[in-house]
Symmetry: C2
Subunit: 118 residues, 2 copies
Amino acid sequence: MRIPILKLHNYLLISIQIEMDDNTAVQFQEDLLDKIHQTGASGVVIDLTSVEIIDSFIAKVLGDVVKMSDLMGAKVVLTGIQPAVAVTLIDLGIHLQGVPTALNLEQGLIKLRQELGE
Amino acid sequence: MRIPILKLHNYLLISIQIEMDDNTAVQFQEDLLDKIHQTGASGVVIDLTSVEIIDSFIAKVLGDVVKMSDLMGAKVVLTGIQPAVAVTLIDLGIHLQGVPTALNLEQGLIKLRQELGE
């Protein structure tokens, strides 16, 4: 299955509301990069509010997709990171340094506008 | 599988990017009504840009969910209805009278604000 990616103005919005398996995560990475390329989006908000646990593979894919999007010129904001997910990310050494985070989608969009100076 | 529902300010955004089977459609109906109840959302945008065909059952569920959301006090705007989907809806007698429509998600949000007088 695929995670839907919404385009709103110049941004892409993603809310992950399923437990991702490895294939879904890899497919998501591919879909997001394609969509950034297609739409020329300048920013991405990935909302993880509904993600309660995360394993090392998914965490790595997520860390990678942030860096890849950045390389392509789209700023990523992660929102709604739950305590257990934060613990896992740090335990795995995925520090996501320089990645802006926010509480929820609304705050994420505000942060994105700030980051992009819009 | 479930269709993710994003909350943005006072609105719910849904982009249907999979081919829905009957169970997914019914689950979506239930999830959307629950989410309206939980969040007190005043408006909903359902984006159908990626839906290329629709069968009679799904069309009925979609028509119903619009009326149900309306009863609960949330205005629904449908966006991105493809030609084949428009044909199917009318052929099946699902006229969605009084349901505002728009080209895409951005336009849908603008329409929603107009409809709600915001």
